[in-house]
Symmetry: D2
Subunit: 277 residues, 4 copies
């Protein structure tokens, strides 16, 4: 399994979330607390949008995040209002850059924690359903990248939530045809550079942990003396597999079988309902 | 494009062919003379059968062969009567271990120099034709590995030459459907640990270079004082993309559109005729 | 810190100790129980002597051992009567092959778990004491490799135990000059291909864990039905940072401040007494 | 040997010089024309100063530059008014990140093409002369990094040219004591983020090639229709091991045994005279 972090808000150095918090994402690469695996050392990735716009940029490596000098350098110089970061614990597919998250399509980024169960059994049927024009873009061998391309096939760019619901419905249906119990386990974050969507779902309704940060205005009221909270904008939101710091009231679990939309104005939580494409 | 070397004969240290000759395979990784590219630095691989039998063993790396300390160590200790070695110059697919040759299926090894032209355009149709039971074994993203799995699908283990002819015929036919001129360019070596097959073919009949070593008995008669030639058995045969040493009469070009079988008893050359599966 | 394993006895496949035991060295790379760190993912190495003799061979990688396909391949084909294996958790020096254990000098291999405390402060004085003829052989930047070259300088090849005692005495003396409390923490294994020496020592007398396997004859008497024990020779001995399997009576802690010699005939335990060179 | 590029001028995307020119630095990594080696595939590095100031940032990798996806990503997003880029062809020291250029000390960057001849013979004497406070900062094993630390020891930050002259004088003197003919071969670029110094020197006065770009105002007069030249500021200067494009009059060789200073106002060329520290 993996751990991930998605950030949207005032531009900050990657450093502030990847390295500085007590239980930062880099710390989680060595000692995850809430994951199935304590070690997430099978590669990592960061995808960010620059402060002055432009397409998302990827930096992905195959070694453990904790010992990568380039990641540390970049984290101290790259500032971004919107980024995804991921540390990988392979569920069987090889450790190679094309299997590192986030995955990218145009302005879109996608990352995933979890698995399609018995993936090698169902992979062919899933890949066949990918739009043939998108097919050549599948560069690696993970379930996560196939999920992304299925969601793109099913309309991600037009109706993001419905497309992910169709993707999951389809994977569950193919899984059932192959006798797979509980085909899908996932937390997902995706973004087009403007809005961000997060999903928490599993066929067995026991999904991997996922937390979002309490609204900054609420936190400021709770902690009037906290300087970090004064610096960030009201719109700032962090979504993480595991809380980064222990601060009472700072983290809310994303409810089972639900999705969130982080956007200008009020964010939104909804129920996630897989459907057939 | 790439360079490769296939050896069958008296067990020798890998070292003797990978490092020691003046224009060894490792030297070719830095300065190929007859290839489309002079540098073959996008990964490498060796697959060998141990002297005491057993399944083939793979050692494949993503860095350049010339600077890999582990390859040098192993080459000085691994002795084998039958091995394939490959240095890669990517034609576009990523540099990752799952894209390094040789590829393996059970007791079979396969390696390739060349390309399926416009591979990303035809890949989906080719992959769909792979036996669904073999499909999950495709670990990387190269044309070469797809060619291997198509040949396996078309009966490689029963009738090796015919299966490769069907594979090429099929790739040419799919290529033509997509308007690809000259779909196939290849030199291939494959083996089941007993016999070895080599192929030289391209749709345009201008195939990459390929040479086999002259029969040892002939060479001994030509060079009665050469000590290296006295040490090796009569059955020894080397097939290479480029000659390893300059020794007049030592290397014969594999003819255009042909295949060779290296086996106990007399080796055999035949005409390669693509067919439809 | 790190974990290591040293084996001497009937030739076995590396596989048997690196992968197969329930708490194998590879498992320890992900979940060490007795170490300071639970994750040992900063590179790995194996050094072995072939069954038919010859100098030791090294295979060392910079990624985590648990995901290295080449290590898995080699472990299934390399058989050895004497080998050292190491998984690294860096104490600050870079993750690079020249920092991976074992280190080699001629027929000698050396590996270490622990640290010279405040190494960067004392490094220059230590390196200056290395025999100038050995100095160019220091390829990496670890404390462990400097310890090895100091021991070589102080007579390792003539009087192995005394040389290591002098090395430790010297490091402690230099450390004290620089105000370092408890300069040395170590478990070490070294071998010349015939005998093997192991050391457990720390300046504060709270050394990292180290265990040796009970004599095979004793174990056989305790477990007359155990098939694994019937296959191995009486001379077989394993020394490990952590027990590989839970078998009551199978593992004995190496006493604090002591060394062991594993050799033909009776093995030997002695008290380790640092001295000044 | 290696190839390098140093840029000072209007902020530009790294891309513009690393990838886009016909004979770009990345192209030189595969097919250098003027170097001792045609292939520079033993690692690479870029060090840049951000547009908004701050300390220099490093991105260095151990694979070949031509196949590194992260370098390509960064080159398309990092804009800088002052950067150094280097592709390495090892002269014997290992391929590891700590051996990749540029090297950094505080705000200073340093990169080198060439060698200290018989480095392993003279290394100890050279390293001993490094200021003991700087000694722990030597992270790798190259001659180039030792040269940098010697120059720092001899006053680089106060009198840059004199410090490099002392460094070379010292290396030549130590080399001569060890019977080394022609101890130094170098082209060097260094910068403190404000000014840039380049050096071309060798003990035998046959130094590696080095070119600087003609003043932009001159080039504009020569090529009034060239759009690229209209976009860049008058202060822009590029120094390279090999010309990036063929444009008559665009490149001037740095004279043998000389140095250049690139700075606000008029740049400067001077004679390089090794001296004893």
């Amino acid at each position: 399994m993996c751990r991930w972090l998605a950030y949207s808000g005032s531009p900050i150095l990657l450093d502030e979330l990847l390295y500085k918090p007590r239980h930062s994402l880099i710390d989680q690469s060595l000692h995850a607390r809430l994951g199935v695996e304590t070690t997430n050392g099978d590669g990592f990735g960061v995808g960010w949008y620059a402060v002055d716009g432009g397409p998302p940029v990827l930096f992905r490596g195959t070694g453990p995040a904790w010992s990568d000098p380039n990641l540390r350098e970049l984290a101290s110089t790259v500032s971004s209002p919107l980024f995804l970061a991921h540390i990988r614990a392979s569920t069987g597919t090889p450790v190679q850059q094309t299997n590192c998250h986030p995955f990218r399509h145009g302005r879109w980024l996608w990352m995933h924690n979890g698995a399609i169960r018995d993936f090698s059994r169902v992979k062919r049927d899933l890949v066949l359903a990918v739009n043939p024009e998108l097919y050549p873009n599948i560069a690696g061998s993970t379930d996560s990248e196939v999920m992304f391309h299925l969601a793109l096939t099913f309309g991600l760019q037009d109706d993001p939530v419905a497309a992910v619901e169709r993707m999951v419905g389809f994977v569950e249906s193919v899984g059932q045809q192959h006798g797979v119990q509980h085909p899908v386990q996932m937390t997902v974050a995706m973004t087009d550079g403007e809005r961000m969507w997060v999903f928490r779902y599993s066929s067995e309704h026991e999904s991997r942990s996922l937390y979002f940060s309490t609204a900054v205005s609420t936190l400021r009221a709770m902690y009037p003396d906290n300087e970090n909270l004064r610096r960030v904008s009201d719109e700032t939101r962090i979504v993480v597999s595991e809380p980064l710091v222990e601060l009472v009231g700072a983290w809310q679990p994303v409810p089972e079988s639900s999705y969130g939309v982080i956007q200008k104005g009020a964010d939104r939580l909804g129920t996630f309902r897989p459907s057939l494409p």
